[in-house]
Symmetry: C2
């Protein structure tokens, strides 16, 4: 019963959204437990016992095992509920989806997060999520904007060749890409340059899926 | 036939070592194709056609499909050659291995790489691997040393609870952790503090495996 699984998440967290979109695509309903990031609840003892990295989301299984990290949560859910595969069907597809999703995360999602964390006044001394405190480095803010621009341009080239990020099928690579672009729009007011037609076409298509509102 | 698979790698590349250790643990023999990073061969056209991120390693399948990114290469190999599982057996184990391996990569491996790339005189203007040029940021060098110290301390606490990083079994989480610690020792002359006994015990045990010399 999926309801026996608890997902600790936050509505404004882009990493939580990556899991909520996955659940929506699979039409899976778990027990959602909100974590109030505004109050810093992710750093309170109760949550730290579940996730020592102090990040959302975390999936807690029936036996109490706590799975942190978005790709690990996806992996558990895909193995347990294989209807409508989002991580690929064959060994080759699984590897290609994993590759594309990771490229999007490292080149797009992570730079957006880095830009936000190194700029936000409320995150002074907390430039990296997790149990340790690190000072903001202002030079990372400009670099992250440049990286995001390069990411959009590379993704446009990719999407001129394939309907979805990892190829012919919608996958987690599309989920991470949409979470990245929507978060960049909100955090940096980044918009897709007009000449990036393949990327615009793709964004329109994936934004029209019911999972986009998750 | 595993020999029909080609692995493009470089002997001094820690990411290549993560795949070579995996192969050694599974006793798989692929066709190894060296890429000369000293000459910048990863940026030449021939290699860029295989891997537009211009990084090693890349696994090329019989049909020519090119799989970049270490976790994606592992995934292909684990699915295709399941004898001696290194990514976990059950859904729960797969998720926990994925979580622990990723924590080690994000908190240990990536900071070591960041420290090296932002310090090395030969990498001026190339602070991030890949197709785009980024200037070095000196503040990242000190921050990465601090992050690596925190990583070792956190890993020691974990290894006081479990014989291997992800639990009772050797897994890819141990491979990434050993690649991180050995690379930090070489690049930063980092050594494990004497009081971190669980970490020292683990390092001795995993370094004694034949795969450690891969």
């Amino acid at each position: 019963m999926p309801e026996a699984l608890r997902l600790y998440h936050a509505s404004a967290s882009p990493n939580s959204r990556r899991v909520r979109m996955f659940l929506a695509e699979k039409e899976l309903v778990l027990t959602l437990v909100p974590v109030d990031l505004g109050k810093g609840e992710q750093r309170w003892d109760a949550y730290r016992r579940i996730n020592p990295r102090q990040m959302v989301p975390t999936l807690v299984l029936e036996d109490g095992a706590a799975i942190g990290e978005v790709p690990a949560i996806w992996r558990y859910l895909e193995e347990t509920y294989p209807a409508k595969l989002l991580l690929g069907a064959t060994a080759r597809e699984k590897a290609l989806v994993s590759m594309w999703e990771r490229r999007v995360e490292l080149e797009g999602f992570a730079p957006v997060m880095e830009g936000v964390r190194n700029a936000a006044p409320g995150l002074k001394g907390r430039a990296i999520a997790g149990p340790h405190d690190y000072e903001q480095i202002p030079a990372l803010v400009d670099r992250s904007r440049l990286r995001v621009a390069n990411f959009l341009s590379d993704l446009d080239i990719r999407l001129a060749d394939a309907p979805f990020v990892a190829g012919d099928q919608f996958s987690v690579a599309d989920i991470t890409a949409l979470a990245t672009i929507d978060f960049a729009a909100k955090a940096f007011a980044t918009s897709i340059p007009e000449e990036q037609r393949a990327l615009s076409r793709w964004r329109e298509a994936v934004s029209a899926r019911p999972s986009a509102s998750a």
